[in-house]
């Protein structure tokens, strides 16, 4: 075995270019026109060994992936890149990274992922083990619902969501509910063949969890962002159903209104192995780029421990935060969907069983579902958005997942863990 030279052992890093699909050949030609010597991975297909520097070329082009790594002359590259990006030949560029093996202290996430993979494999071979976790905790709900306690909202929480607009797209909202007297509420109907009112109650419950008051009448505190501005879009009709048309219209309304968060406790089942809708990938990305975080319910189609159903649409889009439900023991709710379709992960978990909130007609009711978990996340997002104006869109997403508390359950089921308020 030849002893590697220092250059081969530790090559200098360059720039990684991702070509727009279908434009890779044109991109390579531009690089060649700019004086770069390009070597393609296909040139080494028959070789027993691919040299780490592609035989001394300036550019290493990975044909199958539409990726090129440019390791020389960054100044010359900058001018080529400028026109290539403007002409949509190159869709992204970033500095090349150096990777290394992880030691036991290096990455808890990596180890969790590894553990999940092993457990998954064992489950497949031997059948799933019974879910285990802490015994149901005794929560005193005299002043606060168990859900608010679990996510750290309480008397010491200074943030209220004041000045932050929260959109809840659902079955509507009973704005005459006594708990919301004096609150800033904007309602809009998007569902067809429906009244403007919440005849179902689901929407009023979700608004209550995200935006309910600090001191409700005759109930413990159940709302997270108690001074936020409520935008209730009725996208699910009186028959309990909505379509892309109503949902997308509601999302655009919320975005145009300057909402920092859109909460969607709705979904459609997704078959095992199906891909997410590109439509919602695109819409979620546009919202995040514009400073608006979209959170959506992961779905209730599981029957644990035997069956774990894939994350529903639109939560399965990678640009929409998928919310799973946990019970009072902080274990995944038996109905909560999991990240079983590749790349369609649960992102975070929140209380979704036995959740008390506002109900149509002025009262309160306990419900369960990932629908109930989702507005907890929307409420905490509003608190974070109030505390720091830079917490919008992608940054808000990152902050929510950073604060999440690790749980015993697999990341497939609870994502980064249990939602936590600042």
């Amino acid at each position: 075995m030849a002893i590697p030279t220092p250059a081969e052992t530790r090559p200098s890093l360059g720039t990684v270019l991702r070509f727009t699909p279908g434009a890779a050949r044109s991109g390579v030609q531009r690089l060649q026109g700019g004086g770069f010597r390009v070597a393609s991975s296909s040139d080494f297909r028959a070789a027993s060994r691919v040299p780490s520097d592609f035989g001394g070329a300036d550019v290493q082009f990975f044909e199958r992936f539409g990726i090129a790594i440019v390791r020389r002359d960054p100044d010359r590259l900058a001018s080529v890149l400028q026109s290539a990006v403007a002409d949509h030949v190159v869709s992204a560029s970033r500095p090349e990274l150096r990777y290394r093996a992880l030691d036991t202290l290096a990455s808890r996430d990596y180890l969790r992922g590894y553990r999940d993979g092993v457990v998954e494999l064992v489950d497949r071979l031997t059948g799933p083990a019974p879910e285990s976790g802490p015994r149901a905790q005794a929560w005193d709900e005299t002043r606060l619902t168990w859900g608010l306690q679990a996510i750290g909202v309480g008397p010491g929480t200074t943030a209220t969501g004041a000045g932050v607009r929260v959109a809840v797209l659902d079955t509507g909202f009973d704005s005459t509910h006594r708990d919301f007297a004096g609150r800033a509420v904007t309602r809009k109907l998007f569902a067809s063949h429906s009244s403007p009112d919440d005849v179902d109650g689901h929407g009023t419950h979700c608004v209550g969890t995200a935006c309910g008051p600090r001191s409700p009448a005759g109930a413990p505190r159940y709302g997270v962002a108690c001074e936020s501005e409520i935008y209730a879009g009725k996208v699910l009709g009186d028959n309990g159903e909505g379509t892309d048309r109503s949902v997308i219209a509601g999302m655009e309304w919320a975005l145009d209104a300057g909402c920092a968060v859109i909460s969607m406790s709705l979904g459609a089942d997704v078959p095992l192995g199906a891909r997410p809708s590109e439509d919602y990938e695109q819409i979620g990305r546009i919202c995040l780029d514009a400073g608006c975080l979209v959170v959506a319910a992961a779905g209730n189609a599981s029957a644990r421990p035997g069956r774990i159903a894939p994350v529903n649409s639109p939560a399965n889009a990678s640009t929409i935060m998928a919310v799973a439900a946990v019970d009072r023991a902080l274990a995944p709710a038996e109905f909560s969907c999991g990240g079983v379709n590749p790349g369609q992960d649960v992102d975070i978990a929140a209380p979704g069983v036995d959740v008390l909130s506002s109900w149509i007609g002025g009262g309160h009711r306990r419900l369960q579902g990932t629908s109930m978990a989702t507005p907890h996340v929307a409420g905490v997002a509003a608190l974070l958005a109030q505390l720091d104006a830079s917490h919008r869109g992608w940054t808000l997403w990152a902050r929510l997942t950073q604060l999440a508390r690790s749980l015993e359950a697999r990341s497939r089921d609870v994502g980064r863990g249990l939602l936590q308020a600042p």
Partner: protein, 77 residues
């Protein structure tokens, strides 16, 4: 254009690379190709509408259209 034939509700995704300036022209092309009851969402590059089954394929061949799919039905969870 409503031919009275069986129609389906669809969601049309416009390729954002086609540029916002072409959005209106693409919507006009969609209308000419049989899409009716149109609701354009330019901020999302999305168009909702209804179309006869026989006009589904022509819609997806319009320049700048990335995808055409039957509308999904959502329920509270």
């Amino acid at each position: 254009m409503d031919t009275g034939a069986a129609q389906t509700e669809v969601t049309v995704r416009i390729d954002p690379r086609s540029g916002a300036e072409r959005f209106d022209a693409i919507v006009a092309d969609l209308r000419a190709a049989g899409l009716c009851d149109i609701e354009p969402r330019p901020r999302f590059f999305i168009v909702s509408g209804r179309v006869g089954y026989q006009d589904l394929s022509p819609l997806s061949r319009i320049e700048g259209v990335a995808s055409v799919r039957a509308t999904e039905v959502f329920k509270p969870l």
